[in-house]
Amino acid sequence: MDNIAGRKPALGWAVNISVILIVLLWIFPTVGLLVSSFRTADQISSSGWWKAFFPTEQTEQFRTADPDGRVQDGDVFVVEGVIFENAEANIASWGTSSRDVSAYAPGETADLGDGETLTLNEDGTYRWTGNDEQISGRGQRFFVTATQPPEFTLRNYDNMLFGGSSDNISKAFFNTLTVTIPATIIPILFAAFAAYALAWMDFPGRALLIAFIVALLVVPLQLALIPLLKLHLSIGIGKGYLGVWLAHTGFGLPLAVYLLRNYMAGLPRDIIENARVDGATDFQIFIKIILPLSFPALASFAIFQFLWTWNDLLVAIVFLVDSSGDTTVMTRHIVELLGTRGGNWEILATAAFVSMAVPLLVFFFMQRYLVRGLLAGSVK
């Protein structure tokens, strides 16, 4: 059959290779940030993340220890120490002037004039010698070009989740969770009953109502911001969790009703009519038959709404986040970090990945329902 279909082997190869390239292109951006979140600030700023898997040659500036700690050795003073804690670093060259950073090989001794010398050995130990005047003030500056093995660290995550700085994202994480749970469940409660009525009950105006809901599906929520904020302020809800839960409920309802109605309308008519004949009330039919059968659609919508509320920025900053900063959500926190910590990629990358972790887990474990929901929601 494959042969009849005109599939030439050459074409097969071309397809395989182009798909591999596309997949790499698509995953590349995310991997970049993920890798960066496991590197130290120095590593990130000294080399691109794509070099993180290879030993890197870096030129860094060092200073010897302060001359206060000098020891007298005969008629000269000596300061000794070690520059690398990491013993695997491989020193290629070093120098004492910024204009010629690779003047000496490891083990060589640099003559700094008038008998002052500096020696850097292959193992990273150095020895700075000179007379009383020379070995004073600040430590001697020198430059080292070394190859360092790839190294990854969990310190960024430790800092962002458990550290004491104001960048800490754990509070925002729990705030986001607090927004998300009710904002996912409450619309389902409202929508399921309405969807049942629209799918299986006959009443005048039903078609009109469905059209109304289809229309609301695309109403931009931007229109709702000011009127609803005004409403919330006037009835005393103000800015806060209750407000954001209600707002998400309202904005999620059209999709919920639409998805669930389409699904419920597709359930077999016989089951429902048999139950009616047997004397079941609508309420019983709904609870005992429709609801369990609609589980896939409920799961689809729940995943949608979860992803949407977890990733939302606009609704949160309008209805929830106030100037106290106690109710900040992760998206808001990250936007703030982008402003204040624009160059600190170890902080940004880690914060972004903390916020992405939960949606990505949900995505990979429940992809089936997500796809089904998408299909039901848009192909119809």
Binding site: S47, I181, T281
Partner: protein
């Protein structure tokens, strides 16, 4: 009390309240208002069944009207009024006139137009190509999964991801943004601050949304491709069509309605695009879009009149799609 506990309690209360509402209101209807016994039993059952749908619909309808329908009307009203101390004042079309005089508004409108032109088209096109390429691949599902993954990532998270790609370091320093690194490797003279280059920066922001939305288009179109009847393709093969002809002349025409649905869905999203611009450039350097312009007016300039007027512009742009959707839905109902 920690807000998280509050959240769990709220969920509990909401579930109990919802079930109690539906159960008790049904009980009230059947037992007290129109009991199905006595001499009017038949009439009562009919009446109860006329009212019951509205019991089921009431909470959802109430929330929909309050949170979506009422704001539309209220925004129209606000766009024609000015806020004055202690109330509102009829302002005629002055808000709209002020908005039309602002160059930032025209910039936003122009950019939204470009977004509209580029993003839905390219996302749908890429989605279609990938859907076709992965269709018969043994590892197609894994590939699709990876390309679909950005759907789970927030716009803000995606903005961080792409800001690292567009990152700029002064010439002479090691470039950590891959775009600059590639640019220099290909012979570029010096590193660029990509997000400040007018014209190009808009396109770089669009890339973020295309990256996210291609997966969506791919999933839908992939299902549509699978739904094409085998016979039509077999007939084409028998007639000697090559794979490209099969794709363009047999498959694409058959899934055209689905392509339209994908295209309109992404179009609506593009009209409302906010987070990406807000997080990456905040509308500087000529990247303003309508939703961010509106946010600026509402919450930075505190000008509700002009803010509402610009919200109405977004609504007007969405309106044709809204009408089309409603007509499609009504057609299917029949």
């Amino acid at each position: 009390m920690h807000p998280a506990i509050q959240a769990v309690l709220t969920v509990g209360v909401a579930v109990i309240a919802a079930i109690a509402y539906f159960y008790l209101s049904n009980l009230l209807l059947d037992r007290v208002l129109f009991p199905a016994r006595g001499k009017n039993a038949g009439r009562n059952i009919n009446r109860a069944n006329m009212i019951r749908p509205w019991l089921f619909l009431f909470p959802a309808l109430f929330a929909l009207c309050l949170y979506l329908a009422y704001p539309v009307v209220e925004t129209i009203r606000l766009s024609f009024t000015d806020r004055v101390p202690g109330g509102y004042e009829w302002a005629g079309t002055s808000n709209y006139q002020q908005m039309l005089r602002e160059p930032k508004f025209w910039e936003a409108l122009r950019n939204n137009f470009f977004w509209l032109l580029v993003v839905p088209g390219l996302s749908t096109l890429f989605g279609l190509i990938i859907a076709q390429l992965t269709d018969r691949l043994s590892w197609g599902n894994i590939a699709k999964s990876i390309i679909f993954m950005p759907m789970a990532i927030s716009f803000v998270g995606a903005s961080v991801i792409f800001k690292l790609i567009y990152d700029y370091r002064p010439a002479g320093e090691e470039q950590i943004g891959i775009l600059n690194a590639v640019y220099l490797a290909l012979g570029g003279a010096e590193p660029q601050t990509w997000l400040t280059i007018p014209g190009l920066n808009n396109f770089l922001l669009m890339v973020v949304l295309i990256w996210i939305q291609t997966g969506f288009a791919m999933v839908i179109l992939s299902a549509a491709l699978r739904g094409i009847p085998e016979e039509t393709i077999e007939a084409a093969i028998v007639d000697g069509a090559n794979p490209f002809q099969i794709f363009f002349k047999i498959k694409v025409p058959q899934i055209m309605p689905t392509i339209m649905v994908v295209w309109t869905t992404i179009t609506i999203l593009v009209l409302k695009i906010f987070d990406i611009v807000f997080a990456m450039t905040n509308g500087q350097w000529g990247t303003q879009v309508l939703a961010n312009y509106m946010y600026d007016k509402l919450f930075r300039a505190n000008d509700w009149g002009v803010g509402s007027a610009s919200a109405m512009v977004i609504m007007l742009l969405v309106l044709p799609i809204l009408v089309w959707n409603v007509r499609q839905a009504r057609k299917e109902m029949r």
